[in-house]
Amino acid sequence: MTMYEDGRKTGGFETDTEIAGLTELLAEAVGEPAR
């Protein structure tokens, strides 16, 4: 996650993609706010 958040910023991908952890996807799917 840290590496890709960094690469997203330095590589100029901020408007093209977002980085999410698997736990974030799961939390979103069951309606719980990600911590």
């Binding site: 690469g7 093209d16 999410a20």
Partner: protein, 192 residues
């Protein structure tokens, strides 16, 4: 309209009374509703055999109507919404992405080296991803052939001299080399 304006100027030269150029109510040289007949497409100006450049004049007249609050009601509402909400639909800005709710979300998954190559766990995370209802699209380098993010072996705390950095190259792969279904959002998210 141009002939009406010309006639008015001639009347004024002859000592005629001053009246508003454009307004709503019938007392002006040009009635406000007449302005609705021109969409400023420039076709008539291009075709005019005597080179009358009326569109510039029409724009000025429309500006006067706007300043006086006498423009078409629908156009006035749209302009008010644009001013108030930033869009002509009058919808709050936060509601703008709601149309994407019904689109499939496409994600791609990065196999962490230690979970995948070291521990041979490839399917479980993919099953969980699909269970959330998103569409999983694989990058060309996946599973045991996954490209490293560059964070292992202390890379997390080091500055990379490579250009692009491994993480940047992986993101490029996710965006440029990964097939996205045409019916889906074209913004893949990544799980790391």
């Amino acid at each position: 309209m141009i002939l009406d304006l010309k006639g008015y100027r001639e009347e004024r030269d002859a000592g005629g009374e001053r009246v508003p150029i454009v307004t709503d109510g019938g007392s002006s040289v040009i009635d406000a509703h007449t302005m609705e007949s021109c969409m400023s497409c420039l076709a008539r100006m291009d075709a005019c055999p005597v080179d009358i450049e009326h569109v510039t004049q029409f724009t000025d007249l429309n500006r006067r109507l706007t300043e006086a609050g006498e423009m078409d009601g629908h156009a006035q509402d749209a302009m008010f919404d644009a001013f108030q909400h930033g869009n002509t639909f009058g919808e709050p800005e936060r509601a703008r992405p709601e149309w994407t709710d019904e689109l499939d979300r496409v994600v791609t998954y990065h196999d962490p080296c230690h979970l995948g190559r070291y521990n041979d766990v490839f399917d479980a995370p993919r099953e969980l991803i699909r269970a959330t209802g998103v569409t999983l699209s694989e990058m060309p380098r996946n599973r045991a052939d996954s490209f490293c993010c560059g964070g292992g072996g202390g890379g997390l705390w080091m500055d990379f001299e490579d250009d692009p950095k491994p993480s940047e190259e992986r993101l490029r792969e996710a965006l440029d080399d990964t097939t996205v279904p045409s019916s889906s959002s074209s913004l893949p998210a990544r799980c790391a």
